[in-house]
Amino acid sequence: MNQANRNDPRYIRLLAGKIAEQARSLGPLTLMHVCGTHEHTIVSSGLRSLLPDTIRLVSGPGCPVCITPKEDIEAMIHLARSGLTVTTFGDMMRIPSDSGSLADAKAEGADVRIVYGIANALSIAQEERREVVHFGIGFETTVPTSSVALASQPDNFSIYSVHRTIPEALDFLLSNSLAVDGFVDPGHVSTIIGSNAYAFISERYGVPQVVAGFEPGDVLLAVLMLLDQRVEGRAEVENEYVRAVRPGGNVKARALIDETFRQVDAKWRALPVIPRSGLAIAPKYREWDAVHRHRDVLESFSYTPREEDSACRCKDILLGACSPQDCPLFRRVCTPDAPVGPCMVSVEGTCYISYKYG
């Protein structure tokens, strides 16, 4: 098939037909992707309606804003209220915690700034000569940008790292017997870590994976490739997004990550601690680690976990166990203007995407 026709309706129909054909010889299957951009493509192009009833394509914990623990949001609010300048990506601003959101802190007078990338945060530090703490959220696509900032050894700047890694999350889900029959692996995370990074998962659990790009034809082709693997009894990592993803990833970026971060066990919001899924700043760069640099301020911070009492089902949504439509609050009470859970705040959140494009 000519690649240039990837979004041609005829090609899409052809793929849907082949998917239906393969699905007939297979039982019910659950396929999971872990990427807000994939969910966006799937919802805005109505891809789920093209799949047979036996194939569920669910979204997993692929929204970095949604999985950032409340504890860390509260620590950032504490830093901001203590007079430090805090920089954050826009959709982190309104994520609720037990002590409000960063937007609330800003409304009360704290210096919280929205940045488009960490380079903007560095510029603020450089130009204004004030102490800046950047909220370092995101998966492997964003991590090397934090690495560049750390390696530049700025004067009055530090990162509060809540960076998380995807392969460890997939490993965790499967080791906790989440029923997933195939993963659509995230395209841009994979440009950094490479398709080889997922190989251990297929080997360990016998689950097929396909790294996919973001056009509708990419996602459907990835689904078909997963079904082909199931039909043929294979379980390996295949790469649909060859135009951007290499087996070894972005070598330069990976070297920078290794230099500046180290793997640690880490909590994900709504999920438990996932072994080795977090990236803490390496001891060598401790001076730019907000946890170390502002330890005096953080000493007076404490976090008491509270029972979730709302009917918000973000947890199940992050596990692919339910869809926004299954949540009693969706659209009625919970909207992007009045979000109840993080999945409705972030543009990468499954509820937000469903609300806007569903």
Binding site: G36, T37, T145
Partner: protein
């Protein structure tokens, strides 16, 4: 969300550059890629994270144009 659409580097000064998206120009950092003026890159939160061949890039740009998403750019964290 990641910006899946490739852009073309039209200026470079060390690790900083300017990428063109169908006329819209944005500043990018080039620390993470080996790329120069004329190359196509994928940009995430202000950093080029990957290079694409011209053929693949032009094809992607055309496909995104067809589905009308070229304007739907947002720099989120992934």
């Amino acid at each position: 969300m990641c910006l899946a659409i490739p852009g073309k580097i039209i200026e470079r000064d060390g690790n900083e550059g300017v990428v063109d998206y169908d006329g819209a120009r944005i500043k990018v950092r080039l620390d993470l890629v080996d790329a120069d003026v004329g190359d196509y890159v994928i940009v995430h939160t202000g950093f080029a994270i990957d290079t694409l061949s011209e053929e693949d890039a032009l094809e992607s740009i055309e496909l995104w144009r067809q589905i009308g998403e070229l304007q739907d750019e947002s720099g989120q964290s992934q």
